[in-house]
Subunit: 230 residues, 4 copies
C-alpha cells in the first residue's frame, strides 16, 4: 500500500478483512474514477451521475444504521448507530445537496431519479446481510463504504497525482479527508473489533471475509457506474 | 367514555382500533394501577417495580422506533421514527432515572434487574409484529403504548378522583399530560392515518384490530405486574 | 440431576448453556405440571388449557423454523430447518389434534382460542431474538423447547413416580420419549455446536447464556399457565 | 401482446402491475436472450453462465420462500410458501444440476462460482423488500420471476420463431411451459390477489407498481448478464 495515512490499526478485524480481500479492495480504492476525481479530470457527467446515485445510496445507508440501532446489544452500540444515521441524514447528504444545487438540481429532482442497478445491488446486499445475520454481519457489510471513503480520501491527499487547486471535486475530497469524517471511520473500525470480541470467533472469519469482499466489489462497481455514465 | 380531553379524532384509524377493542382498552386505561396512581395511594413498591420495568421496556421501545426508521417508506416517516427514538432515549428515560435516583438507584442498578415476563411479552410482541409485517403493523402495535399513556394522563387530569397535591407520582402524570408528550401522541395518531392510506385497506382491518387488541391486553398486564409486586 | 437418559453430550454448547442456567432449567424440567403429568394426576382442565396453547405455540414455532431456513448459511442448515418445520406442521400438531378430538374440539375451535400471554411471551421472545440476531441466536432461543421436551420425557420415563398404565397423558410422554423425537432433539444439540464453531466464540457465551435462561424461564411460565387454569 | 396463452387473468393484481410496467416487463420477457434460447441459437457459454448463476439465484429464492413462510398470516399461505421452497430445492434445482452434469460440472463446482452482481442485485432486492415490508411486498417482488418464467415459456411455445427440435435448451422451455410449473405460477397469481384483499388498498398501488418494476428490470439485467458472458 502507498504511504497514505492509514487509519486502520494493524491487527484489527478491519485490517484482517481488507488483507484477505486485497484484490477486490484495491479495485475499489484505486479505481480510475477515484484517480480522475483526485486529478480533477473526471467528467462532470460521471461525477454527477455518481453523486445523485450516492444520494439515493445514503437513504439506504441511513436505513442500515437504523437497522443497526435495532440490532444493537448495548445502549452504546445503539447510540453509535443512531449518531451515524443522523450524520448521514444531516451532514453527509447536505454535501450532495450543495453539489446538486450547483447544477440546478433540487432534492425532489434527485428523488425522481431511478436507482441504478449498482446502487440497488450494493445497498440491498448490505441491508439483507444485516437482516439475515446479526449486527456484526451488518457492520462488516457497511465497513467498506464507511471506512473505504476515508481511506480513498487519505490516499488522494497523499498522492502526488492529486490536484486540489481548481479541482471541482475538492469539497468532496476534503469532506471525507476531514477530521470529523475520519473520526467516524475510526470509530467504525473500533466498533468492529468490539463486536467481534463479543459475538464471533475465528470460525466465523471465512464468512466475514466473504461478506466484506462482496461489499468491496459492489463498491468498485459503483465507481464504474459513474465512469460508464460519462 | 368520561369527559376527558380525547386527543384521538373521530374517524381516525386509532379511533376505529380503540372502538373495536373497547373492553381490552378500558381494562388498560382504567386499570386499578392507574386509579391508585392518580389518587396517590399506589404503594411505592408497586410503582417502583413498574418504573424499573418500564425503563427496560423503553430500551426495547427505542429499538422499535429504530426498526420503524428502517421500515419507513418515506424520509418523513424515517425522521419521525428517529425523533421518537431520541425522545425515548433522551427525555422519557430521564424521568425514570430521576425517580430511581430518589430511591438511591443508579442506571446500572436498573440494568441489572431481570426483565419481568410481562415486559418481555409486550415488547417482543411489538417488535416481532413489526418484523413479520410492515411499518403499519409495527406502529399499530406500538400505538396503545404511545397514545394510551397520553390518554391515561388526560383521564387522570380530568378525573375528580385524582389528587395532584402531595401526590408522589405527580411528576409522572404531568410528564405524560404535558404539551410535549401530547404532541408526540397526536403525531402518532396522524401518522397511522397516513400509513393506512398508503399501505392498507378495509380488508386489513380485522388483522389490525387483533394486533391492537393484543397490545392493549399486554399493556393491562404490565400495570397488573406492578400491583402484583406490592 | 437424576439418572435419566441424558441426550446432551458433556462439553456441548447445550450442556454449557444448561449448566449456566441450572436453577431456571430445573424450574422448567422439574415443574409440578410435569410431575403431575407423569403421575397421571394432572387435572384434565390444566392439560387441556396447556395443549390448546401449545398448538398455538407450535404455529409460531413453525414460523421460527421458517425464519431459521431463511437465516441459514448453508444448504444443510436450511434443509434441517425445513425438516423441523414440516415435523411440527405434519407430525407434532397431529398429536394435539388427536387429544383435542377426544374432547370434541376441532382445529377451528383451537384457532378461535386467544393466545395466552405466556404463549405470546415465549414465542415472540424467540422469534424476535432470531430476527435481531443470527441463526445461532434463534436456535439457542428455540433449544429449551426442542431439547427440553425430550429431556422432560426421558426424566418421566426414568422416574419411579411416573405411572404409564392408565395415564391419560401416556401418548404425550411416549411421543416425546419416542425415538423419532429424540433424534430431532439430538440433531438440534449437534447443530448448535456446528453453528457455534462457525459463528461464535467465548466472548459470546454470556449473551447466549442469558438468551437461553430467558427462554427456559418462559417455558416454566408456560407449564404454570396450565396449572393456573385448573 | 402476442397471442400466447396468458396465464394471468384480467383484473388480477398481477395484470395491474404488469400493465403499469409494460416497458420494463417487455424488456424482460422479450429479451434477446429469450429469443435466442427459443431459436436454439443462444451460445452455450451464455446459457451456461446464466444457468450457473440461476442456481445461485435459486438458493436465494428458496430463502425468500422461507421468509414468506415466516411472514405468512395464515397456515394456508405458510404451506404455499413451504411448498414453493421445496419445489425449488427439490425440483427446479435438479433441472440445473442435470444441465450442469452434461457439462461435467458438479454441485460443488457451481457453489464455488462467485455470485455475479446481477444475481446479487435481484435476489437481495427481493429479500430486503420482503424484510422491510410484509408478505405482500415480498411476493410482489418475487412475482416477476415466478410468473415471468411461465410467461416466457408460453411465449416461446406460441412463437413461430421457436424451434424445439434439436434445440439444446428444449428441456428448459418444456420445464417452465409444463403443467406443473404453470400451476405454480397460476397459484402465485391467485395468492397475490388474496393477499392484496387482506392487506392492501388502492393507496398502496404506486409502491407495489414500483417494486414490481424494479424487480422486472433486474430480471432483464439477469438475461443480459448471460449474453454479456458469451
Amino acid at each position: 500500500m502507498a504511504a497514505f495515512n492509514d487509519l486502520v490499526p494493524a491487527g484489527s478485524l478491519f485490517a484482517t478483512l481488507r488483507g484477505a480481500n486485497r484484490a477486490a479492495w484495491d479495485s475499489y480504492v484505486e479505481h480510475d474514477f477515484v484517480r480522475q476525481l483526485g486529478a480533477g479530470t473526471l467528467p462532470e457527467k460521471a461525477f454527477r451521475f455518481y453523486l445523485i446515485q450516492d444520494y439515493l445510496f445514503l437513504i439506504q445507508f441511513a436505513r442500515a444504521y437504523a437497522l443497526a440501532a435495532y440490532k444493537a446489544d448495548t445502549l452504546e452500540d445503539a447510540r453509535q448507530a443512531a449518531r451515524s444515521m443522523s450524520i448521514i441524514l444531516d451532514d453527509e447528504m447536505s454535501l450532495h445537496v450543495k453539489f446538486c444545487a450547483g447544477w440546478g438540481l433540487t432534492i425532489d429532482d434527485i428523488l425522481a431519479v431511478p436507482e441504478a442497478p449498482q446502487c440497488m445491488a450494493y445497498t440491498r446486499y448490505v441491508l439483507e446481510a444485516g437482516q439475515a445475520g446479526d449486527i456484526l454481519d451488518l457492520l462488516v457489510a457497511l465497513a467498506p463504504c464507511v471506512v473505504g471513503y476515508a481511506e480513498v480520501a487519505n490516499r488522494l491527499v497523499a498522492s502526488g497525482a492529486t490536484k486540489l487547486d481548481g479541482n471541482p471535486y475538492r469539497a468532496w475530497i476534503e469532506a471525507y479527508a476531514g477530521e470529523e469524517y475520519q473520526k467516524v471511520a475510526a470509530a467504525a473500525v473500533a466498533q468492529l473489533d468490539r463486536l467481534y470480541l463479543r459475538r464471533a470467533g475465528p470460525g466465523r472469519d471465512p464468512a466475514l471475509v466473504k461478506l466484506f469482499g462482496g461489499a468491496s466489489r459492489l463498491e468498485a462497481d459503483f465507481w464504474q457506474m459513474g465512469l460508464d455514465a460519462a
